[in-house]
């Protein structure tokens, strides 16, 4: 009997996921985006075993500096003779992890605060929302600059800075979603069977608010990558010689006139990654919206 129950529950979990998945893969853009993200993730994970960081990524070969793209160096070399292609591959590790961890931070803080603000309203909501407004009033990048400067420039602090800077968006999106769900009768019904309030917020209300939040996640990962790159470009992100895409852009700009490929390839990498996340976000939004179900 027990096994039967388990079987039926497993079936259910798969079927819910399968339903959204089914609709998602009908969207060509989303599939392309997913494919790109999957490839990037694969590269980010495997590159560590393929390339030797010390000799192939950060080692300087002055004799090979500023070479044009060729069969030996697919994307050419930079002013220190480092292979740009290898550095790009290794850079995926930093850019992706900064994007994902930063959004993870923003998601955790943002949805919790947003859910509390939306559910309780009143003084609690007012305090949370006004604090959020203050945060949101400072431009994202400026906020991140302040945080990185205060904490010191390294990868972890960069993640925190970019993450904290995108908290307000998550607070707002979650609060708005919670506000519409909180008055539903099933929330009152949950109260009537004796659920406590925190359990109601996190187990009954939040799962019903997931679709805008998931979409927000994919969109914010894209902007977190840009923000991290911008910070690196400004010289306060990932410190050299770490091959972060933004800092590669920044280093290459002095040679923009004669050796534009040094900046072009990292720029393209950022663009394609952001585009991929945006396309998946877009597709997810449609897939999660039951009204668009055919």
């Amino acid at each position: 009997m027990k096994q039967k129950i388990l079987a039926s529950r497993r079936y259910r979990k798969r079927s819910r996921f399968a339903e959204v998945w089914h609709r998602l893969i009908k969207n060509k853009g989303a599939v392309a985006g997913l494919f790109i993200i999957a490839m990037l993730a694969l590269v980010a994970i495997s590159v560590k075993y393929i390339l030797d960081y010390d000799t192939q990524v950060i080692a300087q070969h002055i004799s090979e500096r500023l070479q044009k793209p060729s069969i030996h160096h697919l994307m050419g070399t930079d002013n220190f003779g480092r292979d740009i292609f290898f550095r790009l591959l290794y850079g995926a590790r930093f850019s992706l992890s900064v994007g994902i961890v930063a959004v993870g931070i923003a998601l955790t803080i943002g949805t919790t605060l947003g859910a509390l603000a939306g559910y309780y309203g009143g003084a609690t909501g007012e305090i949370i929302m006004r604090a959020t407004d203050i945060f949101a009033a400072v431009p994202n990048l400026l906020m991140a600059i302040v945080i990185v400067t205060a904490l010191g420039a390294n990868t972890i602090n960069l993640m925190i800075a970019v993450g904290v800077a995108s908290v307000p968006q998550f607070v707002r999106v979650t609060r708005a979603a919670v506000l519409t769900v909180r008055t539903q009768e099933y929330v009152e019904a949950a109260r009537a069977i004796g659920r406590n309030e925190l359990a109601i917020i996190f187990f009954h209300i939040l799962p019903n608010c997931l679709s805008p939040i998931i979409v927000m996640v994919t969109l914010r990962i894209a902007s977190a990558i840009i923000a991290a790159s911008s910070l690196s470009f400004l010289g306060i992100g990932v410190p050299p010689p770490t091959p972060e895409w933004g800092s590669m852009l920044s280093e290459g700009r002095r040679f923009l006139r004669g050796y534009s490929y040094i900046t072009m390839f990292p720029g393209l990498a950022i663009m394609i990654t952001v585009l991929a996340f945006n396309m998946v976000g877009d597709g997810l939004r449609d897939a999660l919206d039951p009204k668009l179900k055919k």
């Binding site: 027990k2 039926s8 019904a189 069977i193 004796g194 406590n196």
Partner: protein, 334 residues
């Protein structure tokens, strides 16, 4: 009623909604008792305070703006209004549970129905997840839905089936007391009959006391033992089914019956009660039904009528009975 065990005892309950510049007097000085295994029909038009009374029993009156101004509510021997939040959470679903009006929205769309029934079991009984889920499947079968559908989502169920699920959730922990807030309003007539039949069976099987909130007098006649008629936050007439239906005393109750169509007199016009219910933010000083009442006298406008006992189980709030020999018209016909 006194010789039986009283499960719900509400005395002088007053609930107001205090808004910024006005106060809605939703429930005023309401007293009622329900004995074990009995069903009380709480009847009244929209806005009479029926749902507020029900929510007050679970201490779920939305606060703010709702304030329980006074009175006492006892479920069994527990004084509801004196309990803390945590104690209250233990009572909800266990001692008192509620069936909501709209089954379409009272189930959470992201959980399977099995999980939702099991949740209540899990909260109040010391059982494992698998046991709770198995009990949920049994409960489903009890309300006439095949067990295997426990793994389906609410949107895969029809309205009547959803209401059965809601009933299963409400009965999951064998509550002493059940509040059914217009359980059949959102359902069509055939499904209504099925759900009522089910509730009747379950009530007989488990001996659960129940308050049935409705504005459908037909449903009341079908399953209630006692009836309380509410008007503008007060109970204007209260008695056994037989007393209220056949020996109606209050002019408002009479008005309710007169506005029902009669199958034997198809060509007769319906007689609605003239006027509207008074604004609950500005209730009149006297009897709140006086402006619409055809038996009104000067005394009615002066002060609130007190409950008057017609028989030990039958009370009515009406000043007209101060005049000896007063009878309402319906009583004379019947």
């Amino acid at each position: 009623m006194n010789d039986q065990e009283v499960v719900l005892d509400i005395r002088n309950l007053t609930v107001h909604y205090v808004l910024e510049n006005e106060t809605v007097e939703a429930v005023n000085d309401l007293s009622l008792q329900v004995a074990k295994g009995k069903t009380l029909g709480l009847v009244g038009e929209t806005g009479a305070g029926k749902t507020t009374t029900a929510l007050a029993i679970l201490k779920l009156v939305p606060d703010p703006p709702g304030v329980i101004k006074g009175g006492s509510i006892k479920v069994g021997d527990k004084d509801i209004l004196g309990l803390t939040k945590q104690q209250m959470e233990k009572i909800r679903g266990k001692d008192v549970s509620m069936i909501f009006q709209d089954p379409m929205t009272s189930l959470n769309p992201v959980f399977t129905v099995g999980e939702q029934i099991a949740e209540s079991v899990l909260l109040h009984e010391h059982v494992s997840k698998t046991e709770a889920y198995e009990k949920a499947r049994e409960l489903l079968e009890m309300v006439g839905i095949p067990k295997f559908r426990a793994s389906e989502y609410p949107h895969q169920f029809s309205g009547g089936m959803k209401q059965r699920v809601v009933i299963a959730i409400a009965l999951a922990c064998n509550p002493k007391f059940l509040i059914a807030d217009e359980p059949t309003t959102a359902l069509d007539v055939t499904i209504q009959a099925q759900v009522l039949e089910l509730m009747k069976q379950l009530k007989e099987k488990y001996g659960t006391a129940m308050i049935l909130i409705t504005h459908d007098l037909g449903i009341v006649a079908e399953i209630c033992d006692d009836v309380a008629v509410m008007y503008a936050g007060r109970i204007v007439e209260k008695g056994t089914l037989e007393e209220v239906f056949n020996r109606t005393c209050h002019p408002y109750t009479e008005g309710l019956f007169n506005s029902l169509p009669n199958i034997h007199r198809r060509h007769e016009d319906l007689v609605p009660i003239p006027g509207l219910m008074p604004d609950p933010t500005a209730l009149p000083k006297g009897c709140s039904f006086a402006p619409r009442c055809s038996y009104v006298s000067a005394a009615c406008l002066e002060s609130q009528p007190d409950p008057r006992e017609v028989s030990p189980t039958h009370t009515v709030r009406c000043k007209a009975y101060d005049t000896p020999g007063f009878r309402i018209m319906r009583g004379q016909h019947g």
